[in-house]
């Protein structure tokens, strides 16, 4: 992170259209800012595409685009998010992430100091995960045509050929776990974006889950399915897996871990924490026989300390069904919300 304190390596303080124009200024941006930030031998080759050595076996490949306002939020920034999000997508198929790409779409006038911070944050997060950012692209668009900066990252990882982690592997009797409490990312970003001040500021849970998944797999924990609980939160993830697998999940509402301050903010604004986005939380489907061992591994990892068993796969259901049993003992259907969630009126 020391780069942040150095003088800017470029003569401009803000991005201008010429930084994407293919000329000398663009070359400067790449050579003096972006390449040094992600410094690695593959990037230094300056080829049109990175040439990667990958062991034989299965490859996992994913892509995601990151647009977020504000770009810097409590607990992270768009750079950290763009790396963690893609690493997590790889990890959810049981892959060990190896390489990332980084494409930037930058709005004219964007502060180069902020860009530098974002790149440093990407590199730091990638390095901690043992992953290299090996290729990328930069475009500049006119002022007003983007919201600061958008980032796309793609990722490649390798999967042990014995691993089959997907919704079709989920079976009746499986236990459903979450690794952490829910709703911190979505609420932290919303409170920051809309300048809603609560007594307890919230931090996003933005984190790379690939290390934790790697440890679970290294300990031979049998995992049938993993899903990170991003947009739409726990509700969307469970409904999607249930539909895909043709199964009925029953969730015990009282067992779902939710941070007290997230719960308070949701109560005030009229949001359901089960539908709020997370960036460091996942659901795990584990056979009942493996639950104790799974908890042993989870509990010794910083991202698994508040893991909970929240429900079970109870039976087949042709269309997929998720029911939530509340504290009073009544079950209700867990449903997706329509469109966007809005704050309550009164």
């Amino acid at each position: 992170m020391s780069e942040q304190n150095c003088p800017l390596p470029l003569s401009y303080q803000h991005i201008v259209m010429a930084h994407g124009g293919g000329g000398r200024l663009m070359q400067q941006l790449l050579d003096d800012l972006i390449q040094p930030a992600f410094d690695n031998p593959l990037l230094k080759q300056k080829l049109d595409s990175a040439v990667l050595e990958i062991q034989a076996g299965k490859i996992s490949f994913t892509t995601d685009s990151y647009v977020i306002k504000p770009l810097f939020f409590p607990g992270g920034d768009i750079g950290k998010l763009a790396v963690c999000g893609t690493l997590n997508d790889l990890a959810m198929s049981g892959a060990r992430p190896l390489y990332l790409s980084c494409s930037l779409i930058i709005e004219e006038g964007f502060a180069i100091a902020d860009l530098q911070k974002i790149l440093a944050s990407m590199q730091q997060t990638a390095a901690q995960a043992g992953v290299a950012i090996v290729t990328g692209d930069t475009k500049v668009v006119n002022k007003g045509q983007a919201d600061g900066v958008y980032i796309n990252t793609s990722g490649i990882g390798v999967i042990d050929s014995s691993i089959k982690i997907n919704p079709q592997a989920v079976k009746t009797g499986d236990c459903i776990l979450v690794n952490s409490d829910l709703g911190r990312h979505g609420m932290a970003v919303m409170l920051e974006r809309d300048n809603l001040q609560f007594a307890h500021p919230l931090q996003s849970d933005c984190a790379d889950l690939s290390g934790l998944v790697g440890e679970l797999l290294a300990e031979n924990i049998e995992i049938h399915c993993l899903r990170d609980l991003t947009r739409g939160g726990l509700a969307a993830a469970l409904i999607e897996i249930a539909a895909s697998a043709g199964l009925h999940f029953e969730i015990n509402e009282a067992a779902i871990p939710i941070n007290e301050h997230v719960q308070s903010a949701c109560e005030v604004l009229g949001f359901d924490p089960l539908t709020i986005a997370n960036e460091g939380a996942m659901a795990l489907f584990v056979p009942e026989s493996g639950v104790d061992d799974a908890f042993k591994v989870l509990s010794r990892h910083p991202l698994g300390k508040s893991a909970r068993l929240i429900g079970k796969v109870v039976e087949k259901d042709q269309h997929g069904l998720v029911t939530l049993k509340n504290a009073l003992g009544v079950s209700r259907v867990l449903d997706l919300f329509s469109g966007e969630q809005f704050p309550r009126i009164c």
Partner: protein, 364 residues
């Protein structure tokens, strides 16, 4: 979370359920007035737990649901004007007018913004002196003080580019109208806790007396609701008909004096149209003469097109408590939160949306 978890205690809740079952000798029909209460009852499954002892009828206390289509059409017409920044609470953006809704207009380029508080709209007016900023104020007496304060401040600040499109409603006149209707089956009411936090409950005394109907001012958590229902049932079983206050930790007999004064300074009661229910005397609030310059209806000469609303939608009967949402043939078939035919399917507090969200039979 203090004062909330205690009122969600399952053990306590089950004790109250038992008490209601013991007290109730017949399935009394009790209306919860407020949409927030409907939402909570269905979410926690309280209506199911009381089946046979009490039938809960879901009242018209959802501001999004009862705002008439003519007002939505006015909002759409104003929001489309070139120089306007149109502000409202998020849920209002989804409500279908005759031709469109605010979310669609926003997508087509109209400057429509979601605010958390009417004061945010006032700040926008100060930040954009060249633009007309209109706040679409909706809600019952709960949200009326914040709207009133905003208009009051607009006058203090001499902000000529701010105005209010007003769709505020009053609860006592609609209770009166429901009880007065020939087809009324409601035997008792849970009064809306938040409305009474502002207004107190003196206005309800004559209603309870005149119609011999218990009215129990009630909160929103499971134990609140169960206590409110228990007190209503107790009154019905002993043939007492008075106003009681279950939500005494928040509601005072005279409410919030300052908030009431603000409402009385800025607003005056007016006959108002309720979507699905028709016109009810003195059931709305409009700006008093002194604040007319901040009334968007006067500022913008808007002539909405002929109103069109679904002919098959039975939300009027739902709002009167005559039918439950699933009794409507369109429920979950042609009418869903993604494609609502009526406003009761739009708002998260609407009875149809609550049934769809919590009770939807899978795969309908």
């Amino acid at each position: 979370m203090k004062y909330q978890q205690e009122f969600r205690d399952p053990k306590l809740a089950h004790q109250w359920i038992e008490a209601i079952r013991e007290t109730s000798k017949q399935p009394w029909k009790i209306m919860e007035v407020c949409g927030g209460q409907t939402h909570s009852l269905l979410k926690h499954g309280i209506d199911q737990l009381l089946a046979g002892s009490v039938e809960l009828i879901h009242g018209p206390g959802c501001p999004v649901c009862v705002t008439p289509i003519a007002t939505i059409d006015n909002a759409l017409a104003i929001a489309q004007q070139d120089n306007v920044i149109f502000c409202s609470f998020g849920d209002m953006l989804r409500v279908p007018g005759s031709e469109s809704d605010l979310l669609s207009l926003k997508a087509q380029g109209a400057d429509i913004r979601i605010v958390y508080s009417p004061m945010d709209a006032l700040s926008l007016a100060q930040e954009h002196p060249q633009r007309e900023v209109v706040f679409f104020g909706v809600g019952f007496e709960t949200t009326a003080p914040a709207t009133a304060l905003t208009v009051y401040q607009a006058r203090q600040l001499n902000l000529a580019n701010f105005s209010l499109l007003c769709a505020h409603f009053r609860v006592p006149p609609i209770i009166d109208a429901l009880l007065d209707a020939g087809d009324c089956e409601i035997q008792g009411f849970l009064g809306a806790g938040h409305v009474c936090t502002v207004m107190g409950y003196q206005e309800y005394l004559p209603l309870a007396e005149q119609y011999r109907t218990p009215i129990v001012i009630t909160g929103f958590e499971p134990v609140d609701l169960l206590q409110g229902i228990h007190r209503t049932v107790q009154q019905l079983e002993t043939k007492q008909y008075s106003v009681e206050n279950q939500y005494a930790r928040v509601v005072k007999p005279d409410g919030n004096r300052q908030a009431r004064e603000l409402i009385n300074t800025v607003f005056t009661p007016v006959d108002a149209e309720w979507r699905g229910l028709g016109k009810v005397a003195d059931s709305g609030l409009t700006l008093v003469e002194e604040f007319r310059p901040w009334n968007a209806e006067y500022r913008f000469s808007v002539k909405p097109a002929a109103q069109r609303q679904s002919m098959v939608c039975r939300s009027g009967e739902v709002l009167k408590g005559l039918i439950k949402p699933p009794a409507c043939g369109e429920f979950g078939v042609n009418c869903t939160p993604d494609h609502p035919l009526g406003a009761t399917m739009v708002s998260s507090e609407g009875a149809c949306a609550a049934y769809y969200h919590y009770r939807k039979l899978p795969h309908v």
